[in-house]
């Protein structure tokens, strides 16, 4: 069963693969940028989720 968080992980994975390939020219930089994009997307979701939790409570 797909949870909210697993949906986020899949979304971030797919987006970071395409961003990594298209936004950099060198294969090593592609991998690094893909990992950076993935970390940014997932990190932003975690931070915003905790912020919403803090606002609610």
């Amino acid at each position: 069963m797909l949870t909210h968080f697993s949906a986020v992980l899949l979304f971030a994975l797919c987006v970071s693969v395409v961003f990594g390939i298209t936004q950099r020219a060198d294969p090593k930089k592609m991998v690094r940028f893909g990992l950076f994009t993935f970390a940014c997307l997932v990190g932003a979701v975690i931070v915003i989720s905790w912020l919403m939790y803090a606002i609610k409570h």
Binding site: L10, F11, C14, V17
Partner: protein, 137 residues
């Protein structure tokens, strides 16, 4: 002596052939096909897997397939999903996805479908840039 503006406007050798436009069109119709045409199999396969994955997840979550509409948000959604190329036309032809969002997860599905289309446009333009020499490798 050429100025900076003249250097930028000077056409690149590959721009004179029709290959870049063929690559752009093929990349739009089938995700990653533009890169495969240029011999970049790994990139093409990864792009195909990522965009097809998002597309199938979107359909599985009963995401909405937009149709041309006078409503601006629906029109933007339609343009985004049109970026999927063949995937959009197949969904319309076989009635895949949903006509409207009925489930909560359907909203996620709609986002997956729209972002898949937008990513496919980015990938097709990237293949075009590789073909005309604007991108190094």
């Amino acid at each position: 002596m050429t100025t900076e503006a003249q250097k930028i406007s000077k056409p690149l050798p590959a721009q004179q052939s029709s290959l870049p436009w063929l690559v752009l069109f093929t990349g739009w119709i089938v995700p990653g096909a533009g890169h495969v045409l240029l011999g970049k199999w790994i990139r093409g396969t990864l792009i195909f897997a990522a965009i097809l994955g998002m597309y199938l997840l979107g359909l599985g979550l009963q995401g909405k397939i937009y149709t041309p509409s006078s409503d601006i948000l629906d029109l933007l959604g339609f343009l985004g999903q049109l970026g999927m190329g063949m995937g959009y036309f197949l969904a319309r032809l076989f009635g895949w996805g949903a006509g409207s969002v009925l489930l909560t997860v359907g909203d996620y599905g709609t986002k997956f479908l729209t972002v898949a289309g937008l990513l496919n446009i980015i990938a097709a333009v990237d293949a075009h840039s590789l073909a005309n020499g604007r991108k190094a490798s």
